[in-house]
Amino acid sequence: MYTPDEVLKFKKPTEGFCCSLSDNKYGIEFLEFEIRDYDTSKSVFKISKSDAPDLSKLSLEATNGGSSVEDLVRTVRYKLPKEFLKFKTVRTLLKFCVGPGEVPSFRMIERHYYKGELLRNYDFTFGFCIPSSTNTWEAVYDMPVNSQEQVDDMIGSPNEHTSDTFYFVGDKLIMHNKAYFQYV
């Protein structure tokens, strides 16, 4: 099982997932995620638990596509408007709830890659989560300044921008999600 230190040394996207869905023993569930432009407050992506695809549909796709249901529920495909690549500052909001037990030390490490190379790393410690609580985390990030050439390259390379998000409780990996980005 991977520790935060090991994950922080990853230089390329992982093959498959580093833990299984059943490793989430704390009942942590994501309720909402939103990405907004900080300057205009315009929302460019929003997903909430209520609009998550239902599992029966996923299993159909899984049979056709050959990947397991487990993998599909942990993969997000973002389709972001291309002006996102020109945003100066971005605000993200994550809302999650936890099960009936205490969560001692909750931490997220997210690694972004472009064409297989590490682009940036986010590391945030939520710390303690109160039993049965609903929590939100809103962060403001400065975005990279991209040249027109880079913007065009990213638009022309759908799903080459990927990320691995690892969630730890203490040093134990409890969740791993993958994301693919395309700009349209």
Binding site: C97, V98, Y114, L118, L119, R120, N121, F126, G127, F128, C129, I130, S133, T134, N135, T136, W137, E138, A139, V140, D142, P144, V145, N146, S147, Q150
Partner: protein
């Protein structure tokens, strides 16, 4: 300037400040934070856990931890004391009935060893509502006469109108910055 330059920029050590915002339920903590972030303050619901905001303020990266104030949640506040540089205590200045509760909970925090070095900002909130106690009256009621070495200040404010909110935050950030980052500049 390429993507790699950007990675370096992100990696550069940012000056981070951790602020913990607590107080009785319905004191207006979340509304104050929303106001600071320029968000809509008209709809706020009770916080049933924490709400963290990370934002840039005068060259510092602030991590504001707004933790729910309901009775059942208060016993968990202690889990958020570690590494807290600034404590923001919010009072509903119109809630005269619960001033005694407010005083008791605040005094519990003041004897916490892990918060001993933290700068304390007290927001006398809801000053826009009629019947709000003045900050002088609140101070008297809270019996804050034995503060020792602690850096602290009370600021009248309204999370709804925004009056005083920025002034309070500026003070707490400056005070912490002067203590912590004095030798790093």
């Amino acid at each position: 300037m390429g993507l790699l330059t950007v990675i370096k920029k992100v990696k550069a050590k940012e000056k981070e400040i951790r602020l913990l915002m607590v107080g009785l339920d319905n004191a207006g903590k979340t509304t104050i934070v929303k106001n600071l972030c320029g968000e809509d303050v008209s709809k706020t619901s009770p916080t049933l856990g924490f709400e963290i905001k990370t934002l840039a303020h005068n060259g510092y990266k602030l991590n504001i931890w707004d933790v729910g104030g309901q009775t059942t949640l208060r016993s968990y506040w202690r889990n958020y004391y570690e590494q807290t540089e600034g404590l923001i205590w919010v009072i509903d200045s119109t809630d005269v009935r619960r001033l005694e509760d407010c005083k008791r909970e605040l005094h519990k925090l003041l004897v916490e060893e892990r918060l001993a070095g933290a700068t304390l900002l007290i927001f006398a909130n809801k000053q826009d509502v009629s019947g709000a106690q003045s900050q002088e009256d609140l101070l008297k009621a809270l019996e804050l006469d034995k503060m020792g070495e602690r850096h602290w200040r009370i600021v009248s404010c309204s999370g709804v109108t925004g009056e005083g909110v920025g002034k309070g935050l500026d003070w707490v950030v400056e005070d912490i910055a002067a203590r912590i980052y004095m030798f790093n500049n």
